[in-house]
Symmetry: C2
Subunit: 402 residues, 2 copies
């Protein structure tokens, strides 16, 4: 595609996303919905002005990696670990329940083949870490107790999702699953998430010296973006989603992160704030591209709206998708109002659901009708749950927000 | 190409470019040379670690557009217009002389076909606005009298180059040239460069209101990048180089730009400074990608270094390339020491020379030997002239810097 067309696409995407976000905010709707809708409007679902090209996908990927970096930067690792038990139960519950429910209903009620049923169940396990985080941010709850639990669970869900995807993919090709293989992936990921923040912290001390000694400006944006993108590639190399590499780098550079064994690195305490200030315009530029691209990838015009199977199947799956995550929320040791809020925050499937759906379609496991139903479920959980979450906080927020 | 590979490429490019730029600065070499060399090292000339892919080209293009936007932002239109006569003479002299000299020598001395000779002459007319501007910035002379003349001339040269390219392209296909066609291109470009800054100024007032009224941060990076990229696409639409669209937008948003007829727009005078502050990290991130990509595109391993023709031909052309621009500098009504400095600043061919060379190669007009010689000339004028310019300023600077 020619450069000037891509330049126009980028300009159109960021501007439309922002205008829709302002309109949404004006009506009290979460901004992320505006950004997602801008993609639906620009994309094949409605006007078909822009189709997702490789360079746009890259910019979107950078956007979500940088957003997760920023989330990591604002995360207090102590509080996140404190939320650990609740987050783990939420993640596992909200993973296992939708999987088993989805699998069972597809296999026993809709009589779909076992592999298809497993893939549908897999799709329902997804939690969109990007959309979930943005909803919490739009509500100003990203640093709250329940926000930390949801964040931790979303991270764990993303990791579990990758393992499940690998397992299903292996099963679809070989017909069996080797525990050794999926075990290896999990061990790699565990090593990465233990070592990555320590490595990032050590590198940040080097960046700090570089920054203090260089006579020309621009060290922070360059060194930080290079660090974050390398960690994303590193995460990919161990089999984890790239955006979690950005998150690990962010955690390490946050003000509250200390190295184990009390190793001290001479880093100015204001450095983390300066990092945030200089990175902010870059993050603000890239992240809307990601959310618009989620909307762009959601081809609602591919859905055969006249098929009764699509309607019944998608409605059933949507119920499973919501009930499964809400049930996961009930496992969290919190106030019962908070439990519901936590479960709700896990509902959006977003880009992770689309990745599962796309893989199912490309590998021929999903036929058009199953694919269409999945797309509806993703659209429904992604586009509508921010509304209820906001409404829920308005009505019941007082009962669990200290 | 897979996303994680591209992420690694971006990280490697920006980091290597910065490290080379620091090493260069340490030895008193202009930083831009470091950035260009980083591309030579990473690219096919040396290690072949990275090849220029479409997404990287896009990021590089955004980089040069944003750099020209920043240059425009720092430009005082009054001073630029004041430099107008000198800049125009410099541009035309430094365009016509290398063209005629290159054409004559190729045709009469080396007995190349007429079309090939014309294309070689065309390649020698180029001035790399990106490299030239960066050399002036590295010397801190971008706002000086001679800096404004060079900037103005580089802009005009870029426009003339496009017209010449269009004419040569038409000639190579049709065998004749229609004055009407090239006249149309010039009229379009003239209209664009008259109206674009006014339009940008009007839009900036809208952005200012948007910025003041939005409750969420991030208006400036999004609105400004969208504006700049749209103007780049608009410039392309009228047949001008995209980076000049960025320049026009920058000029319009600079503090010293006033609308004709004294139309006042209620814009906070600090707004232009705030724009610059928020845009700076983005510009710092993208522009090194451009210079590294110029180095990456320069495949020195494609040159047959054992061919005597290549050596003689390229040496002759290099002399023509330098003499032609220096002679152009002598036409400028300035102190004679300043004239030489001005002529020298116009020598680097950089990316513009590479575009001509690539077009000649792809269309079959240049054979391998001619192409190799052109690449050597581009490499030589781009990589070495920053050295002499810096040395010249050190020795003779006192004689023309007030």
């Amino acid at each position: 595609m020619e450069t000037h067309v891509l330049l126009l696409h980028i300009a159109a995407i960021i501007l439309t996303a922002r205008i829709f976000s302002e309109i949404a905010a004006h009506f009290g709707i979460p901004r992320v919905i505006g950004e997602l809708c801008s993609g639906v409007v620009l994309g094949p679902s409605l006007f078909g002005l822009i189709e997702p090209s490789e360079p746009l996908r890259l910019l979107a990927e950078i956007g979500i990696i940088l957003l997760l970096f920023e989330v990591g930067l604002k995360t207090d690792l102590g509080r996140l670990l404190h939320a650990g038990r609740g987050a783990l139960m939420l993640a596992i519950g909200g993973f296992v329940l939708p999987f088993l429910l989805g699998l069972g209903i597809c296999y026993y009620t809709f009589h779909l083949p076992l592999l298809v049923s497993m893939f549908v169940g897999g799709t329902l396990t997804a939690t969109s870490i990007g959309v979930t985080v943005r909803i919490l941010e739009d509500l100003g709850r990203e640093s709250s107790a329940e926000g930390q639990i949801v964040l931790g669970a979303a991270v764990v869900d993303d990791l579990l999702g990758v393992v499940l995807l690998a397992v299903l993919y292996e099963f679809s090709i070989a017909g069996t699953v080797s525990i050794a293989n999926s075990g290896k992936v999990m061990v790699f990921m565990a090593i990465f998430f233990t070592l990555a923040p320590i490595l990032a912290k050590v590198l940040s001390a080097a960046i700090y010296r570089f920054h203090a000694e260089s006579k020309a400006p621009g060290v922070i944006p360059i060194a930080l973006v290079a660090l974050v993108l390398s960690f994303a590639a590193l995460a990919h190399a161990v089999g984890a989603p790239e955006l979690l590499g950005g998150f690990a780098a962010g955690i390490a550079l946050s003000r509250r992160f200390f190295l184990p064994l009390g190793i001290t690195l001479r880093v100015d305490p204001d450095f983390s704030r300066e990092i945030h200030e200089q990175m902010r315009p870059i993050i603000q530029l890239f992240t809307p591209i990601f959310f618009a691209m989620v909307g762009l990838s959601l081809d609602l015009s591919a859905v055969d709206w006249s098929s009764p199977f699509v309607w019944v199947f998608s409605l059933t799956l949507a119920v499973v998708a919501i009930v499964g995550k809400l049930a996961g929320g009930l496992l969290v040791p919190e106030n019962r109002y908070a439990r519901v809020a936590i479960g709700m925050a896990m509902v959006p499937r977003g880009e992770v659901g689309l990745i599962f759906a796309e893989l199912g379609r490309v590998s021929g496991i999903f036929n058009n009708e199953v694919y269409a139903a999945i797309i509806i479920v993703v659209a429904y959980t992604t586009l509508l749950s921010p509304f209820w979450i906001k409404a829920y906080y308005r009505v019941f927020g007082a009962k669990f927000i200290e």
